[in-house]
């Protein structure tokens, strides 16, 4: 049933291929190597999680996939074509919510549709996603009137309203309390199952990665290279005390350099 739903919508999502990508930032004339020969292939409709130490280059990888930057070396491809510019088919939810402070929650969510002249046509989608992230009562609030978690949910809604084919998530649940976090994880999972987009999720949380993703990729310290790629075969819904997942969690933590039992 689920496989069928996936197969039906897979044509509508994007295959993301990162081939031998290295990236450098220039800071005061000095080069800062951030990514070192990273290669990964994400099939259409696949859910991949990225784990790695802080500052290793995870957000940078997402910026490359979004087309906000072009890699210094290597290729980032969508369905085999190089990504050169941003495109609303690939939407990045930034690590900080970065809501436009002069727009209400509704205005923020409508930004993408407005930029593409689709507001009238897809007005209903705005209300739908606001309900999805439980912000339907706050549509006229300004960002400074929201809590950190609400702002993050609004940022998620702003991405989802565009029905992206590739959703790039940079620690979208970082500021949520553990209960909301669990709920939002489930919402995201349901959404991913029904909409069938390809998802690339950056997270610090090993459990979150294991609960959501088909495949977990572990990056090394900066400059980031791939340390491990772990397939999670478990069907959804997953339980965090599932012995397989517990074993996977331990091995992932080891790969992240935390050897003792945490």
């Amino acid at each position: 049933m689920m496989a069928l739903a996936l197969a039906e919508t897979a044509a509508d999502s994007i295959a993301l291929d990162v081939e031998g990508v290295s990236h450098r930032y220039e800071l005061d004339g000095k080069d800062l190597q951030v990514l070192d020969d990273v290669s990964l292939a994400i099939a259409p409709g696949e859910f991949v999680a990225l784990l790695g130490p802080s500052g290793c280059g995870k957000s940078t990888l997402l910026r490359l996939a979004a087309g906000l930057e072009t890699p210094t070396a290597g290729k980032v491809l969508e369905n085999g074509r190089p990504i050169t510019t941003p495109n609303p088919d690939r939407i990045l939810v930034f690590q900080d919510a970065t809501l436009f402070p002069w727009r209400t929650v509704r205005g923020n969510v409508a930004t993408g549709l407005e930029a593409r002249g689709l507001v009238r046509e897809r007005k209903h989608r705005i209300d739908e996603v606001l309900t999805l992230v439980k912000l339907e009562g706050f549509s006229d609030f300004y960002p400074h009137q929201l809590s950190g978690g609400m702002a993050q949910r609004a940022a998620l809604a702003r991405a989802l309203v565009n029905d992206p084919k590739l959703l790039l998530l940079d620690e979208p649940f970082g500021k949520l309390d553990s209960l909301t976090r669990l709920r939002m994880q489930n919402e995201l999972l349901d959404l991913w199952k029904s909409a069938g987009f390809t998802a690339l999720l950056v997270t610090h949380d090993v459990e979150e990665a294991l609960l959501l993703a088909d495949c977990v990729i572990v990056l090394s310290d900066r400059p980031a290279s791939i340390v491990a790629e772990v397939r999670v075969g478990q069907p959804h819904p997953r339980r965090r005390d599932d012995p397989n997942l517990v074993a996977l969690r331990r091995s992932l933590l080891e790969k992240l350099g935390i050897s003792h039992d945490v």
Binding site: I91, L92, P101, W102, R103, A115, Y142
Partner: protein, 333 residues
């Protein structure tokens, strides 16, 4: 309802008078007192020389006292206006005192040197006898200021956005702007005469320059300081350059633009006098110079007060516009 009203209005007054006199605006009573004092002193004491409108001033001050007396019991029923009046209560008291002191020092004792300091009735006399000319001057100045300010702001804003947005514009424009910016308006007079077909155009140019430059500088700074991530977000959402400029850069820099507008408003008023030196036949600036030349200082003060009131009114208006447009800023600042 009535208790709520009293809570907002009563303040200090209610605490002392509440048992016997509920709902009395105590500051209103005091203001009536000081204004009555001004009226009584004006009427009772003889002027050192005749100033013209002494009787009228006494009557007006008395009327003011009467109004405050009436307000001290009715202000609670006036809603928003009443709240504003109550807020400025202490000012009304001091204003009455100020009028009394001013009256005594100038007209009654003659302590302040005569041609330079005019008593209140001296100014009043100007308004009574010269109001038609003042009104024409206000109209002329209004036309000059309106044309100059709005064209200056428009050009300054557009130029500021271009300077803040485009690197190439900034490369050529910023140094020029920084050079032109600090040059005082009067320094432009010789070359404006040369460039513009009439002195009226030259005057408009001076006002436009004074109001446009701060708007341009602050708009440029605002646009160039916009958080880059706002552009990144908008671009991933499918925004083109047009959207980035009009829906991201401009709204994000609007707080800066308003700072520029306030500065431009003040500068434009300061430059009016200079602008009307260029052979204007009417206008408040012209009126000031004309009367200064004839040592008619009462007229000068009278015109200055009109100018200050108009400027304050415009500042107030600009605040209203700002609060309307920048409501989203509340709580951030």
């Amino acid at each position: 309802m009535s208790t709520a009203v009293e809570d907002t209005f009563g303040g200090a007054g209610r605490r002392t008078f509440a048992p016997s006199l509920p709902g009395i605006w105590r500051n209103g009573l005091f203001a009536a007192g000081t204004w009555f004092l001004a009226a009584a002193l004006t009427y009772a004491l003889p002027d050192v020389i005749t100033w013209g409108a002494t009787q009228l001033f006494a009557v007006l001050a008395l009327a003011g006292a009467g109004i405050f007396l009436a307000l001290s019991v009715t202000v609670h029923r006036l809603g928003g206006l009443g709240r504003t009046l109550v807020h400025y209560g202490p000012w009304f008291i001091v204003l009455g005192l100020w009028l009394a002191v001013w009256e005594v020092l100038t007209a009654k004792l003659g302590w302040l040197p005569k041609p330079f300091f005019s008593p209140p009735q001296g100014l009043l006399h100007v308004y009574v006898t010269d109001w038609d000319r003042l009104l024409i001057c206000v109209a002329y100045t209004g036309r000059l200021w309106g044309l100059g300010f709005f064209s200056g702001v428009l050009v300054g804003f557009a130029g500021g956005v271009a300077l803040g947005w485009s690197k190439r514009f900034a490369y050529w424009g910023m140094p020029l702007l920084k050079l032109i910016g600090p040059v005082p308006a009067s320094a432009w007079i010789p070359c404006t005469f040369f460039i513009f077909p009439s002195t009226f155009h030259a005057s408009i140019f001076l006002v436009a320059l004074a109001s446009g430059i701060p708007v341009a500088i602050l708009t440029a700074a605002g646009v160039s300081q916009v958080n880059r991530s706002f552009y990144d977000v908008a671009r991933t959402l499918g925004a083109d350059n047009r959207f980035l400029i009009f829906k991201v850069a401009i709204p994000a820099s609007l707080p800066n633009v308003f700072v520029g507008l306030f500065m431009g408003l003040y500068y434009s008023f300061a430059v009016l006098v200079v602008a009307e030196m260029l052979g204007a036949k009417f206008g408040l600036g012209w009126y000031l110079q004309f009367n200064t030349a004839y040592s008619a200082y009462a007229n000068v003060y009278a015109a200055l007060i009109v100018m200050a009131l108009i400027c304050a009114g415009l500042v107030r208006l600009l605040f209203v516009v700002r609060d309307r447009l920048l409501g989203w800023q509340k709580g951030i600042l």
